[in-house]
C-alpha cells in the first residue's frame, strides 16, 4: 500500500517507538502517581522524563506545564471549555476542524471567524486584528489546515494576542514535527498536539502545553493526591489528568521525539513538501483535476494537498484509489468550516498527505496510476 494519509495518522512508526511500547508493557506496568512501591515510582519517574522531553521540544516553561490528554481533540476541549466563560468572545480561523467548532457550538459562546488568505499572511493577521472586540478572551486557531495545508502565521497572531492581552491557543495537530514550535517565542498560551501525527508517536494520547492556567476542568476524578478533598486539586499537570494515564503510549513519545530530532524538522519538512509539490505539479497538468490552493510553498503550506476529479465524488475517488493500493482520505475531513470557506462543501475533496516514510518512488507510482488507462476506466465507470 502507498500510504498518503499521514494527516490522519503517520502510517509507519519508528521501530524504537514500537519496541518501547512492548518494553513499557513488560517493565513499567504500574500506575504512576498512585502508589508508593518501587515499580510505581519507577514508572512515575519515566513519565516525568517524557514531560521534560516534551517541554524541551516545544520550549515550554517546565515539565509541569505538559499535560497528557486522551488526544488532541481532548486537549482542545480542555482549553475551550476550561477557559471560556459567559460573555466571552473568541476568534477562530476559517480553517478550523470540528475539534474546535463543535465545542464552541456546545458552549454557545460568541465567536468570530477570521478569514485566512491563501497567499497573504499579513492580510490574515489583519483579519484577526479586525475581529477583536473589547470582550475577546482568546484567539484559537489551527497551525495548518488539515484539508488544504495552508499554514497560518501563528507567530504574528501570537504577537498580536500578546499586544492586546488576549489568550492564544493553537491546534498544532498538523504542524508539530513539521515546523519548529517555540511556545515562548510564538506567544502561545495553549498548544494542543496530536503526537501520533507529525511526532510519529502511537495513537492513544494527546499533549496540551498549558503556559497559562486553565481555570476549569473538563474531567474530574482521582489524581493520586489530596484525596480527602472533593474539589479537584489545583496542581499542574495533575489538575487536568484525572484517571490513569496511557503509560505505554506516553513512554512511546520519547523515542518518537528522538526520531524527529535526529532526522531534523527542517529535513522532514523539506522531504515531505518536495513530495507534495511533485504531486501537485502532476495533478495541475491534468484538465480533469481540480485543485484548490496555489502550489504549496515552503513556509506557507504543510505537506497536504486536496483535489478532485471533476464530476466525481471525493469518497468515490478515494475508494478507487484504495482499490489500486493508495491510501488517501476523501470527504469533509471533519472540517466543514474549511470546505465551506473554499467552496467544496458539496463535493468534499480527496486529501493527500505525506510523511517521512513516503518516497519519490511512491509519488512516481501514484502519478503513473492516475495517468493509467485502467484507473481512468474505473473512474469513468463510477461516474456513469
Amino acid at each position: 500500500m502507498i500510504y498518503f494519509d499521514n494527516a490522519a495518522t503517520t502510517g509507519a512508526k519508528p521501530k524504537a517507538v514500537i519496541d518501547t511500547l512492548s518494553k513499557a508493557l513488560m517493565e513499567y506496568n504500574a500506575n504512576p502517581g498512585r502508589s508508593g512501591h518501587s515499580l510505581s515510582l519507577k514508572t512515575a519517574d519515566a513519565i516525568y522524563k517524557v514531560r521534560e522531553k516534551v517541554a524541551s521540544f516545544f520550549c515550554a516553561s517546565g515539565p509541569e506545564r505538559v499535560i497528557f490528554t486522551l488526544n488532541c481533540t481532548h486537549s482542545i476541549n480542555c482549553v475551550l471549555k476550561g477557559v471560556l466563560g459567559r460573555g466571552d468572545h473568541i476568534i477562530v480561523s476559517s480553517f478550523e476542524h470540528n475539534a474546535v467548532m463543535r465545542p464552541l457550538k456546545k458552549l454557545r459562546v460568541n465567536y468570530s471567524v477570521a478569514a485566512v488568505s491563501l497567499t497573504n499572511d499579513e492580510q490574515t493577521v489583519e483579519n484577526f486584528r479586525k475581529a477583536i472586540r473589547p470582550n475577546t478572551r482568546m484567539i484559537f486557531c489551527t497551525g495548518a489546515s488539515n484539508v488544504f495545508g495552508k499554514m497560518l502565521p501563528i507567530a504574528q497572531i501570537g504577537k498580536l494576542c500578546r499586544e492586546r492581552g488576549i489568550l492564544f491557543g493553537v491546534d498544532a495537530a498538523q504542524i508539530a514535527g513539521v515546523i519548529p514550535i517555540d511556545v515562548k517565542e510564538m506567544c502561545i498560551d495553549f498548544l494542543c498536539v496530536a503526537p501520533h501525527k507529525g511526532l510519529y508517536a502511537p495513537m492513544g494520547c494527546g499533549i496540551l502545553i498549558s503556559e497559562k492556567n486553565i481555570p476549569d476542568t473538563v474531567l474530574e476524578g482521582g489524581t493520586g493526591t489530596n484525596s480527602l478533598e472533593l474539589s479537584q486539586p489545583e496542581f499542574y499537570p495533575e489538575k487536568h489528568e484525572s484517571g490513569t494515564l496511557s503509560v505505554p503510549i506516553i513512554l512511546g513519545l520519547s523515542p518518537a521525539i528522538d526520531y524527529v530530532e535526529k532526522l531534523g524538522i527542517e529535513k522532514i519538512y523539506n522531504h515531505e513538501l518536495t513530495l507534495a509539490k511533485s504531486v501537485y505539479s502532476a495533478l495541475n497538468q491534468k484538465e480533469e483535476i481540480e485543485l484548490y490552493t496555489p502550489e504549496p510553498m515552503k513556509g506557507s503550506y504543510a505537506p497536504v494537498i486536496s483535489f478532485n476529479f471533476k464530476g466525481v465524488d471525493s469518497t468515490q475517488t478515494s475508494r478507487i484509489l484504495s482499490d489500486f493500493g493508495v491510501a488517501v482520505r476523501g470527504g469533509l475531513h471533519c472540517a466543514p468550516t474549511a470546505h465551506n470557506y473554499i467552496g467544496t462543501l458539496g463535493s468534499g475533496t480527496v486529501r493527500l498527505s505525506f510523511g517521512t516514510f513516503n518516497t519519490s518512488n511512491e509519488v512516481n507510482r501514484f502519478k503513473g496510476l492516475i495517468n493509467s488507462e485502467n484507473f481512468s476506466k474505473k473512474l469513468k465507470i463510477s461516474i456513469e
Binding site: 502517581g33 515510582l41 517546565g62 489530596n226 478533598e229
Partner: protein, 72 residues
C-alpha cells in the same frame, strides 16, 4: 539518622524537586505519604537526610510548592 520529609503534593512536583536537589549534590528520594494534621490526605514527599536549609532554598527558588515539612 534524622530525615526531613518535604511534602510537595503531587508526584510531578516531588520528582521535579528530587531532580533539582540531586543536580545540586543533595541526596533525595520520593516517597508516598499520608500527610500530617490539617492536610488533605495522601500525596508525595521528597525525603532528604542532609542540607535541609539549602534544599528548602533550592526548592523554593525553583517554584516547587512546599505543603508541609516534617522531621523524623
Amino acid at each position: 539518622m534524622k530525615k526531613y520529609i518535604i511534602t510537595t503534593g503531587t508526584v510531578t512536583y516531588a520528582i521535579k524537586g528530587k531532580d533539582i536537589l540531586k543536580r545540586n549534590g543533595i541526596k533525595a528520594r520520593v516517597e508516598r505519604i499520608m500527610s500530617g494534621k490539617g492536610s488533605s490526605g495522601c500525596g508525595y514527599s521528597i525525603i532528604i537526610e542532609n542540607d535541609f536549609e539549602k534544599a528548602l532554598g533550592l526548592l523554593k527558588s525553583n517554584g516547587i510548592k512546599i505543603l508541609e515539612v516534617n522531621e523524623k
